[in-house]
């Protein structure tokens, strides 16, 4: 193409060199004339601190479990691999749980990625759209035949997770509820539902049946099919439907009923 740069290319090339030097190696710094000035490190530091602080704010349970120094070191590595993509830093941190799962120094804390996932789900629930909540009376008003084919649509803020073999939910709740972290742990798998029907995010433990039911509802399956899915996940649970379904409704898990009218 020769040296005939378009004007737009020169601003862009300045910015490319500058950005490469911000995160990069000595070679990248050599490609940016300004990077040798002391002031360049102000930008480097400000950007890294802003990213790491945003992660610390969004993953408070992870932060508390590993301590500030460990957290900041791990977060800085994550930032280099996955810088933010949008200005709203409250939503930064997608993929941090997966990063921790592959992070060698975190190997001896097998529950840490799960705790990070719950911190992330809390943020998602916190920032999600507002919406009405389906109460028990709305469901009770449906004829059994209408209920069977109706679809319960999960609330925009509803998030859920299951953890096999690890008491991730208990660890996370101890942090969030200000309880001591060093008490006896039930070393079993756990499930949780987070939702924000109004005001702040709330959470509660769930049985595997509830998780399977919610997942089936989220994929658009009818009430009857979702109950079948729950029964497959936890045989016998259909007999307890009168317990776990009202609990889901009370938690604000659903925002509307589709297909409940002709």
């Amino acid at each position: 193409m020769g040296d005939a740069r378009t004007p737009a290319a020169s601003l862009q090339s300045f910015q490319r060199d500058f950005a490469a030097a911000l995160f990069g190696s000595d070679d990248a710094r050599a490609g940016c004339a300004a990077a040798s000035q002391a002031g360049f490190d102000v930008y480097r530091n400000t950007i890294m601190v802003a990213c790491v602080d945003a992660l610390a704010a969004s993953f408070p349970s992870v932060f508390q479990l590993v301590g500030e120094a460990w957290f900041r070191d791990a977060a800085a590595l994550f930032v280099r691999g996955r810088p933010p993509t949008e200005g709203g830093m409250a939503s930064y941190g997608e993929g941090f749980a997966e990063f921790l799962a592959d992070f060698e120094p975190a190997r001896e804390l097998p529950y840490l990625p799960g705790v990070a996932r719950l911190d992330r789900l809390w943020s998602e629930a916190h920032l999600a759209a507002d919406g009405p909540v389906v109460g028990a009376t709305a469901l009770a008003a449906l004829a059994p035949s209408a209920l069977a084919v109706a679809v319960l649509v999960p609330h925009p803020s509803a998030r859920w997770a299951s953890f096999a073999d690890l008491p991730v939910v208990t660890i996370w709740r101890r942090h969030r509820e200000g309880l001591p972290l060093d008490g006896e742990l039930p070393w079993v798998g756990e499930s949780v539902l987070l939702a924000r029907p109004a005001g702040e995010v709330r959470w509660q433990a769930m049985e595997p049946s509830g998780v399977a039911f919610l997942a089936a509802c989220a994929s658009g399956r009818s009430f009857a099919d979702a109950v079948d899915a729950a029964e497959q996940a936890a045989p016998g649970c259909v007999d307890e439907l009168g317990t776990w379904l009202p609990a889901l409704l009370a938690a604000g898990a659903f925002t509307r009923i589709e297909g409940d009218s002709p």
């Binding site: 300045f14 000035q37 400000t46 920032l127 759209a129 924000r196």
Partner: protein, 286 residues
């Protein structure tokens, strides 16, 4: 310019950056001329408590949306979804003021959370003007563009910063946000004279003033000041503010504080000090 001055409503004098820690006190505060500014990006969310708080506070106070990530000096156009979200915020909250920085922060799909510098070339001028026009088109109203803090001496400037800002305003119809702490910090860091900059700034284009605290770089010391927003406004910056206000008259003036957050009452005290200077100058000019 008299932003958001409805019939019988008091003019905006001095405002405060709104922090989540102070939502309750901000909502209840009835100080004369008070308004609040938020970083627009913190409210570019789908729903939840922070939007509910902002709506409650907007019900009692005038609001300013201050963008930090639109990257109007970026070689790439502003992010479309961010523009859409900003437009939705403007529709919902009807802010008295909307502003962004003369800086870039986006490249290749990444967001670099800072206000980055660039050579003020003819090409950059055209790029910034096109981007400012895109923002104004998206939200349906003019914005104000803020002078940033400088930490580097760059080659390739075809324009002084003041002429560059004045030309952007002339071409796009935007106004200017004069950050007097940035003027002080930049003058110290670049070895220029803050008073000269302030006296040459096109006052008629200024729709808002920012005041904030700074601190020396921990390694370099007083020769490199950082626009840290984590300290009270410095005495020298108050003096510059008085100098500008004597020349230009009162403008809506914000006390910015983003870190080492003190009690709301302490921030309100700084705001009251700015308010007193603005009201005093207005009285003298009348």
């Amino acid at each position: 310019m008299a932003p958001h001055r409805g019939a019988g409503a008091p003019a905006l004098t001095a405002g405060l950056g709104l922090k989540a820690e102070h939502y309750g006190e901000a909502l209840a505060c009835r100080a004369d001329g008070l308004w609040f500014e938020v970083h627009a990006e913190n409210y570019m969310v789908d729903g939840g408590p922070r939007l509910a708080w902002l709506e409650a506070i907007r019900g009692e106070h005038a609001l300013s949306l201050h963008g930090v990530s639109l990257s109007v000096a970026g070689a790439e156009p502003p992010d479309r979804s961010a523009l859409d979200r900003l437009a939705a915020l403007v529709r919902r909250f009807e802010p008295a003021l909307v502003s962004e920085h003369l800086a870039w922060s986006r490249l290749g799909g990444s967001y670099l959370p800072d206000l980055l510098p660039f050579p003020r070339s003819d090409e950059a001028l055209a790029t910034v003007c096109a981007n400012v026009a895109r923002v104004q088109e998206a939200i349906g109203r003019p914005i104000a563009i803020e002078n940033p803090s400088h930490y580097l001496t760059l080659d390739g400037h075809d324009w002084s910063e003041i002429d560059f800002l004045d030309e952007i305003a002339r071409r796009t119809g935007c106004s200017l946000l004069l950050d007097i702490n940035n003027v002080f910090v930049s003058a110290r860091n670049l070895g220029t004279v803050a008073e000269d900059y302030l006296d040459a700034f096109p006052a008629a284009r200024v729709s808002e003033v920012h005041l904030a605290g700074h601190r020396p770089d921990p390694r370099v010391g007083e020769a490199l000041l950082i626009d840290s927003h984590d300290a009270p406004v410095a005495a020298e910056v108050w003096t510059l503010f008085e100098r500008f206000t004597r020349r230009a008259g009162a403008r809506p003036t914000l006390i910015e504080r983003d870190a080492e957050l003190p009690a709301f009452a302490e921030l309100l005290g700084e705001r009251d000090a700015a308010h007193a200077r603005l009201v005093g100058d207005v009285a003298l000019a009348a």
